[in-house]
């Protein structure tokens, strides 16, 4: 109670030009708010967000010495930043502000029951005030960006990225593990569709990089370590047995791909078997000398199809025919993707290349005189006599992809490629890591695609480096060292690997959370056995305050459900339900969290102990979690808790975890209505005394309905 006594909260109840006041008795809300703990001022506004409204709020802050503001209005998702900016100007920055959603969660969805809408608005206001009373401002994190970039890989994508960054004024260190630059392209003969010689083409790019004064090339070198955090990475490179270390602010991964190894060899000496890479080498040397060639586009599995190898195979078939019109050239394929240029296909056919579609069930076999294939178009086995068989294998990740993945903390997909993880969080609420990927390390890319991606990665890296300072004002977890017992559970729980252990006083370990890597999901706060981790503005204190406030003014016979909704799923769906004017029962009180990872079983138990009749947990659909897999963990915790409740004799139907889609308001309303009905049917969890509120004079302001 002492925290509440110290704050001076101003509550501003917005009529929203009638949109709220048409359904909610605003006067009653103002009267009720004025009596809530910590509130020194409660006023109504026609449009709180208007210029005049904001000016009046600013004036009130000064006149009454307010240090917290609660606006009872519409959704903070659209209007939050507007108020935050205005309050910052009035000296009340750093999130000393809470917005209560009376429009989308009450006025628009309980339009036919003025009493219920008003009562709910009062409850939500009480929750907002209780939270504001214990709110601590969020500290901004600022990180200086080291103005230099590292490019790993000197192939076409890496070379393009390096020149892109360097020409825009940032020094680049380019690290290539082979003894020369050029990557895969250096080993090719010609490029398609231009027919340009690959060596000349890549030679130009290599020279541009070598001659650029801002690009430092390290060949025969590998990155062995990368430490530090976003904006300031310390990179260690090993070259010729010695180590170099330097600082960079951005890292571009362009380690590329390689042709897969063929699984079968040839036991038949009369037929020479080569990979497409070897064919390209041969072509560079002036060969191959073969009168009968079969190029087989190999597709070990549908997911491994690479249109890059198929296109190269097409190009090579035409090239061989053009060079030696008398030769017999066949192209065997399972399915020529629509991505391949039809002009190239027509040209190859016109030159006399024989096309064979072999179908997936029976791949071609190397036989004594040539290739045995089931010709799909003719419907029977065919033997194509040839002295040279080229296996065009798909492009797969480089052999060191796993090592690169571990080094940079970039996840690998099922095929071993490194898709650049997209961080779908609000800009400004997290520190971007500054790691970019381009070229075949990502997904099989041809030359044109690699150049495009290299350019794109370069430009994005430049934008990152140009920030100078990276700032984040989003929620971030912090360790209370005095409570930490060094168990390390939090370390494993962090999907962003932001937590490490360090020693304190030489012996004890405590956790340390890197503020530039923490994205604020809340997992660590939940798993910590001693509750040594807090995360403003979603601390246990704030959540408990809201739970208590939601239940403080229970009327006897009133059903009350606490709904913890993640802002990306249920909360957004609830807002949309308001916008669409969908009605649902008024027994739900929504508590907003950033991620369902924040659902703490202890808080659910607390809600039930305080008298909630039902608890609803709203998470994103499986696979849709913005914080990697918070929803999976939430589901596990809910399930475990449900079983424990059941064993304790508590009706676990009162606890539900539901998946919501942010744009499916109909389903949200359907689910909530059904749950509310079930809770109504199950009855109250305990006895509610007629006047159990010690803290507010409940009902007095609602007497207005009796006249």
């Amino acid at each position: 109670m002492t925290a509440q006594a110290r704050v001076r909260i101003g509550v501003f109840v917005c009529e929203c030009g009638g949109k709220i006041s048409d359904a909610v008795e605003v006067g009653a809300v103002v009267d009720g708010a004025a009596k809530m703990p910590g509130v020194v001022l409660a006023e109504r506004e026609l449009y709180g967000c208007s210029k005049a409204g904001l000016a009046r709020i600013a004036q009130a802050i000064e006149e009454h010495g307010l240090d917290r503001v609660v606006v009872v209005g519409c959704t903070p998702r659209t209007h939050g930043p507007l108020f935050e900016a205005a309050l910052s100007k009035a000296g009340l920055g750093g999130s000393r502000f809470e917005m209560v959603n009376a429009r989308e969660q009450c006025a628009l969805v309980h339009a036919d029951d003025r009493y219920a809408a008003t009562k709910k608005t009062l409850d939500l206001t009480r929750m907002g005030v209780a939270k504001a009373a214990v709110l601590k401002p969020i500290q901004k994190v600022e990180v200086d960006v080291a103005p230099a970039a590292l490019v790993i890989g000197g192939g076409i994508a890496g070379l393009t990225a390096a020149t892109t960054v360097a020409t825009r004024g940032f020094p680049v260190r380019l690290v290539e593990k082979a003894p020369q630059l050029g990557g895969q392209v250096a080993g090719l003969h010609t490029l398609y569709p231009s027919g340009e010689r690959a060596k000349e083409f890549i030679g130009k790019k290599i020279r541009a990089v070598q001659e650029h004064e801002d690009i430092d090339v390290l060949i025969g070198a590998t990155v062995t370590d990368m430490s530090g955090s976003a904006g300031d990475y310390k990179v260690t490179v090993s070259q010729d047995g010695s180590n170099h270390s330097f600082q960079v602010g951005a890292v571009i991964v362009a380690t590329g791909g390689q042709e897969a190894e063929p699984t079968e060899g040839s036991e038949h000496s009369s037929v020479r078997l080569v990979t497409q890479t070897e064919l390209e080498h041969d072509l560079q040397q002036g060969g191959p000398n073969a009168e009968r060639v079969a190029i087989v586009v190999v597709e070990p599995s549908p997911e491994q199809y690479s249109s890059v190898s198929a296109a190269a195979a097409l190009k090579n078939s035409a090239l061989l025919k053009r060079r030696n019109p008398g030769a017999a050239v066949s192209l065997l394929f399972n399915d020529l993707s629509s991505e391949l240029s039809s002009a190239m296909i027509q040209e190859a056919k016109a030159l006399g290349v024989q096309f064979y579609k072999y179908g997936g069930e029976q791949p071609p076999r190397i036989a004594e005189e040539g290739v045995e294939v089931f010709d799909h178009l003719r419907g029977d086995q065919a033997i194509i006599p040839c002295d040279l068989v080229v296996l065009a294998m798909p492009l797969v990740p480089q052999s060191d992809a796993a090592a690169v993945s571990r080094l940079l903390g970039l996840p690998m997909d099922e095929r071993g490629f490194l898709p650049e993880p997209s961080v779908r969080l609000r800009p400004g609420s997290y520190i971007p890591r500054g790691i970019f990927a381009c070229g075949s390390v990502h997904y099989p890319a041809d030359v044109r695609e690699s150049i495009f991606q290299g350019y794109r990665a370069g430009v994005r890296a430049v934008r990152h480096l140009s920030s100078g300072k990276l700032t984040s004002s989003g929620p971030r977890a912090q360790v209370i060292e005095g409570r930490c017992v060094g168990c390390g559970t939090c370390v494993e729980s962090c999907p962003y690997h932001a937590i490490t252990m360090r020693t304190r006083d030489g012996t004890l370990s405590v956790s340390r959370i890197d503020p530039s890597l923490c994205n604020g999901c809340g997992n660590c706060t939940v798993v910590c056995p001693t509750k040594a981790i807090t995360m403003e503005p979603c601390t246990d204190r704030e959540l408990v305050a809201q739970i208590d406030a939601a239940l403080a003014a229970r009327m006897s016979g009133e059903s009350l459900i606490l709904a913890f909704l993640c802002e990306w799923s249920g909360y957004a769906a609830a807002d949309l339900a308001g916008a669409e004017g969908r009605q649902y029962p008024s027994s739900v009180r929504i508590v907003r969290v950033g991620c369902s990872a924040r659902f703490d079983p202890y808080l659910v138990l607390w809600a039930f102990l305080q008298g909630a009749d039902g608890v609803l947990l709203g998470a994103c659909d499986p696979g849709m979690c913005h914080y990697v897999d918070g929803n999976r963990r939430a589901a596990e915790r809910a399930e475990t808790l449900g079983r424990m409740l059941k064993q304790a004799g508590f009706d676990c139907r009162r606890l539900r975890l539901e998946y919501f889609e942010a744009d499916d308001a109909a389903r949200f309303v359907e689910t909530v209505s059904e749950f509310a009905e079930e809770i109504e049917y199950l009855g109250p969890t305990g006895e509610v005394e007629a006047d159990q509120s010690g803290s507010t004079h409940v009902g007095e302001e609602l007497l207005v309905f009796e006249s």
Binding site: G17, L46, R426, A662
Partner: protein, 227 residues
């Protein structure tokens, strides 16, 4: 503070306000569609036009963007304004015949059947989605592209946007329910792995929660422990 006249009433306003802001402050209703309190005004829907007296006669101006000036004389419901509003409603109805908000507006103004062809989606090009994404979310994932009849809201190159964070603010602010999350993301997922997303079943427990890229990592790390 400045003084101007709206519908014959003298009202006071802070300098720098728009006519719409002044009107709203004083409880004078002017219909709007593309106006949003949390966004910079845009003036695209033309529903909020009012009649402003000028030396050269009455002028229709968009009240959401037109600044309130000292001594201005404004009429919010004159015949000129009502005519303009009716035509605007008719054109909006032809663009978004299935949108509830537009139909209600048309009915209110006595517009039944648009005299021009009907559009096939509900987008009225009010720009709210684009502006919200830029000004509130600051992700800047979509934009108004092309001009004339082909003008539309799109993600860059009409493929899934990399900048979209899947917050559905655009869906929420759209007055006619014309935009869907898939339109911006290109698929339903907030994770990038091809355009056909499917959650992979974990090989150990069989549950479908794991997103493919982390399926590999998690299964590997679980495999190392005794499950």
């Amino acid at each position: 503070m400045i003084t101007l006249s709206i519908d014959g009433r003298d009202v006071e306003a802070t300098e720098g306000s728009t006519i719409l802001e002044v009107a709203r402050e004083h409880g004078i209703e002017i219909p709007t569609l593309c106006y949003h309190e949390a966004l910079e005004p845009y003036g695209s829907c033309r529903l909020c036009v009012v009649e402003l007296e000028t030396r050269r006669g009455p002028l229709l101006v968009a009240s959401c963007v037109y600044p309130a000036e000292e001594g201005a004389v404004v009429k919010t419901n004159s015949e000129m304004v009502r005519d303009s509003r009716r035509i605007t409603a008719e054109l909006l109805l032809s663009a978004a015949p299935n949108a509830r908000v537009i139909r209600e507006l048309a009915t209110k103004l006595g517009v039944t059947e648009p005299r021009v062809g009907l559009g096939d989606n509900n987008c009225i090009l009010c720009g709210l989605c684009v502006r919200a994404c830029r000004e509130i979310v600051r992700a800047d994932a979509i934009s108004l592209v092309n001009r004339g009849f082909t003008k539309e809201v799109s993600a860059p190159f009409e493929i899934g946007s990399n900048a979209c964070i899947g917050c559905t603010t655009c869906v929420f602010v759209c007055p006619t329910a014309a935009i869907k999350l898939e339109d911006v993301l290109g698929n339903r997922s907030v994770h990038d792995w091809g355009s056909d997303f499917e959650a992979t079943a974990c090989k150990i427990c069989g549950d479908h929660y794991l997103a493919p890229e982390f399926a590999v990592e998690t299964e590997q790390s679980l495999g190392e422990r005794d499950v």
